[in-house]
């Protein structure tokens, strides 16, 4: 039982990233009707906001230690970050909290990035076929990841969580299990809580604000809202920026879980599209539900007992195909996805 609960937790944690990316994708698709293949790259850009802030905090003063030598036998250059040199323990604490602090800088950066992306490129493709949109956004994703690679290299870059969140929480004890039966890393729990908060905030924004009401109305019938004298295009541009922001902050918070690299956006992109399709094109609750559901399924499929069972019925490597298998089944049973509506992406 504890093994099952551990995989559920793991699935929720994995599903958090899927849900956040899929949420942004659905927002863009639902409002602008654009299939944005660059959305994974936005997640990656967010992660590199954290990397960049970390690098800025690590800018160091160099002193020479004549007692030690470097790899060429020359006196060793010792680097001391300016933050530490100038502010002592406070500076070290700031460096330690670089990832949460990166959220603050990533929000305006991602909003601006999303705004420029929509105004500068995406809007020219609104009336073009989806194939054109996919090509241009996929191309943009490749350009963005190559730019990041040119600056930061191809290797993963470690961006640790604050030391207060290093270690594991013994969740099992709270659920009546023995000690150490279910332990889970603090930061992954933080990520799950953060994802829930962001999802709640996006839903609340759309549900309880006038802006959100107009956007929802625009999603339902763009033409009528326009006839009422509302500049819906402007509102949708802001939604694009908001979706970019959601992907960006998801990327920032993900950096301590796996060291970011230039390719991380692509790693999530295909899965996130499957999540959107399974959830139902244009359905925000569907994207969130499918994100968590597929995360949990993926976790269970990687259990040894499950893998062995599927191998006995001649389905090897179920952990690699489960998401696509489920997508096929869902689309066969419910062609519009779990919570999809009639008329979305249908001629």
């Amino acid at each position: 039982m504890d093994a099952v609960l551990l995989q559920v937790l793991n699935g929720l944690d994995k599903g958090s990233a899927y849900a956040l990316i899929a949420l942004g994708l659905t927002l863009i698709f639902g409002t602008l009707g654009v299939v944005n293949f660059a959305h994974g790259a936005l997640f990656m850009i967010g992660a590199f906001c954290a990397v960049t802030l970390n690098k800025i905090f690590e800018i160091s003063a160099i002193t020479i230690d004549p007692t030690k030598t470097d790899f060429l036998g020359k006196p060793l250059q010792v680097k001391t970050p300016y933050l530490e040199k100038w502010f002592g323990d406070f500076g070290l604490a700031v460096m330690d909290w670089s990832v949460p602090l990166a959220i603050i800088i990533s929000i305006p950066i991602m909003m601006l990035f999303g705004y420029i992306m929509e105004r500068g490129l995406i809007r020219h493709f609104y009336k073009r076929p989806h194939a054109d949109q996919i090509l241009v956004t996929f191309g943009l994703a490749i350009v963005l990841q190559e730019i990041i690679k040119a600056f930061y290299g191809a290797n993963p870059i470690q961006t640790p969580a604050p030391s207060a969140f290093v270690g594991t929480l013994d969740i099992g004890v709270y659920l009546g299990f023995a000690q150490n039966a279910i332990t889970y890393p603090y930061w992954r729990l933080v990520y799950f809580a953060f994802a829930c908060l962001v999802i709640f905030a996006v839903f609340a924004f759309l549900r309880f604000t006038t802006f959100g009401m107009v956007v929802r109305a625009g999603m339902a019938d763009r033409e009528t809202v326009g006839l009422l004298g509302i500049n819906i295009n402007k509102k949708f541009t802001i939604m694009f920026a908001l979706a970019a922001c959601v992907a960006g902050v998801a990327g920032v918070m993900y950096t301590p879980i796996n060291s970011p690299n230039y390719h991380m956006g692509m790693d999530f992109l295909v899965l996130s599209f499957v999540v959107v399709v399974v959830g139902g094109m244009g359905s925000l609750p569907g994207a969130v539900l499918a994100g968590f559901l597929l995360g949990i399924l993926e976790s269970f499929a990687s259990m040894n007992v499950v893998k062995q069972f599927f191998e006995t019925i001649f389905i090897p490597s179920i952990d690699q195909i489960v998401i696509y298998l489920v997508a096929v089944i869902v689309l066969l049973v419910r062609p519009r996805g779990l919570l999809g509506h009639k008329g979305v992406m249908e001629d």
Partner: protein
């Protein structure tokens, strides 16, 4: 105009379809590279230059390692042509190289991008052979790629000097007469590591393997399991993980549910960084299991990529082909040349690529020809020293280099960003040697060398 009369619009019949299929099959079965008959061997250099083909990952996840390989190749070419300080040419036991190119011909090179994909690597190697006239192909950072390119070079009739490839299969079941490997392999890592692991962790241990699901992972898992079981360890579980995995948490979580007290990560590059990071996140290194401290092992370390795992590598044992901190004359000469040119120490991938280039050039000089069969014969059974790993031999039976192996550990207090690993033992060559017909390397055949003529 009636479409029926147009030969281009001949209706497709079952018979014509079968004919077309048969013709395609014949074309497909023909050699991929049609050799020229005007030369004694493929791409025989006729002018003042000889062209080498450096096939490295310039894009994809191993691009940084590929960039380091390319730096090493450029340095080797510079030294072969008489430039720079000569690097390891000064310490190489063979004195055939004079710094005037190879056989008096100036060394030039072309590069290809393997993208760490077998098909892309074969395609770039093929282009360098056919279009650029490369007489030798070298490089790579993956066993899957090395085996694919080695096969292509055998078909084409050029020498392949493998870059970083650690699978037993490269010089085992997939060995080829035209292919040569300087880098060590999974068996050697296991043979070097097992005694150190026994010494540090005892002989009563239960190991859980997480393994990248491709040729390198499989052979390393097999080698490490066999070597540690011979020391009394029990292998609790072997779990294959998809190569494309980025989050290993669902696999790590299951380790906690067994009575394993050691986790062996048969992962490389980004997989290694992520699986190790995940394992540390889940608190594995702080756990006590069976009354013992839980331990993690990374059998193949890459210093270049270990930086991505940061502090997580501290105290973790592994093995490496070479390390810049070695103090033999060859290593010092190479680190000096490389470090002064580029500003940082070379990686093990850079080292093996540099050495392979010198070894190829030296073999050409000793053979007095670029003929792949003559060069191959010069490399087979060649004993040498001064290239950074102590006395080394290219075994004739499988074209595998035999030399000392380094057991390393993540350093507790690194002094610089390059100072991530410390060498804890130089395992003597005799301890990592095996018979050419060892079961882990069985099933292959070198075949005959191909000149492409």
């Amino acid at each position: 105009m009636s479409s029926d009369k147009n030969p281009l619009h001949t209706p497709l019949t079952r018979r014509s379809m079968l004919k077309a299929s048969a013709a395609s099959a014949v074309v497909g079965a023909a050699p991929m590279i049609i050799p020229s008959t005007a030369h004694a061997y493929l791409n025989e250099p006729k002018g003042a230059n000889v062209t080498l083909g450096f096939n490295v990952p310039q894009s994809g996840p191993y691009a940084d390692e590929g960039a380091d390989e390319l730096r090493a190749y450029e340095l080797a070419v510079e030294h072969l042509n008489g430039g720079g300080d000569g690097g390891m040419m000064n310490t190489f036991s063979s004195k055939a190289l004079k710094g005037n190119g190879i056989l008096g011909k100036k060394v030039t090179y072309v590069t290809g991008d393997t993208q760490t994909k077998s098909d892309a690597a074969r395609s770039s190697a093929k282009s360098m052979i056919e279009k650029d006239g490369a007489v030798m192909i070298t490089g790579g950072s993956s066993s899957g790629v090395a085996i694919a390119v080695q096969g292509l070079c055998q078909e084409a009739g050029v020498i392949f000097m493998a870059g970083l490839t650690h699978s037993n299969d490269t010089t085992g079941k997939d060995k080829k007469a035209n292919g040569f490997r300087h880098f060590f392999n999974g068996y050697m890592s296991a043979a070097a590591l097992a005694p150190v692991l026994e010494k540090n962790y005892g002989s009563d241990r239960k190991a859980y393997h997480l393994t990248a699901d491709y040729t390198w992972g499989w052979t390393q898992e097999e080698s490490i399991a066999a070597a540690t079981e011979a020391k009394g360890w029990e292998t609790v579980e072997k779990v294959r993980t998809p190569l494309a995995s980025t989050d290993f948490s669902s696999y790590i979580g299951q380790v906690l549910k067994t009575d394993a007290d050691v986790l062996v990560l048969n992962h490389y590059g980004g997989n290694m960084v992520n699986s190790l990071t995940n394992a540390v996140q889940f608190g594995l290194r702080d756990k006590m299991v069976n009354g013992k401290q839980f331990e993690i092992i990374v059998p193949l370390y890459s210093r270049l990529m270990a930086s991505g795992a940061g502090k997580n590598v501290k105290g973790i044992f592994g093995s490496t082909n070479w390390h810049w901190s070695l103090q033999d004359e060859g290593s010092k000469a190479f680190v000096k040349s490389f470090g002064e040119k580029y500003g940082f120490p070379p990686s093990q991938a850079a080292h093996t690529c540099y050495v392979q280039t010198l070894l190829y050039a030296d073999a050409c000089e000793r053979a007095g020809s670029f003929d792949p069969c003559a060069v191959g014969a010069a490399l087979e059974g060649f004993d040498f020293d001064g290239l950074g790993n102590g006395p080394t031999s290219y075994r004739a039976e499988d074209h595998q280099c035999f030399k000392d192996v380094l057991v390393v550990k993540g350093k507790e207090n690194p002094s610089t960003e390059f100072d991530l690993l410390e060498v804890v033992e130089v395992t003597p060559r005799a301890q990592v040697e095996y018979a050419p017909d060892h079961p882990m390397f069985a099933g292959g055949d070198l075949g005959k060398c191909n000149t492409g003529a």
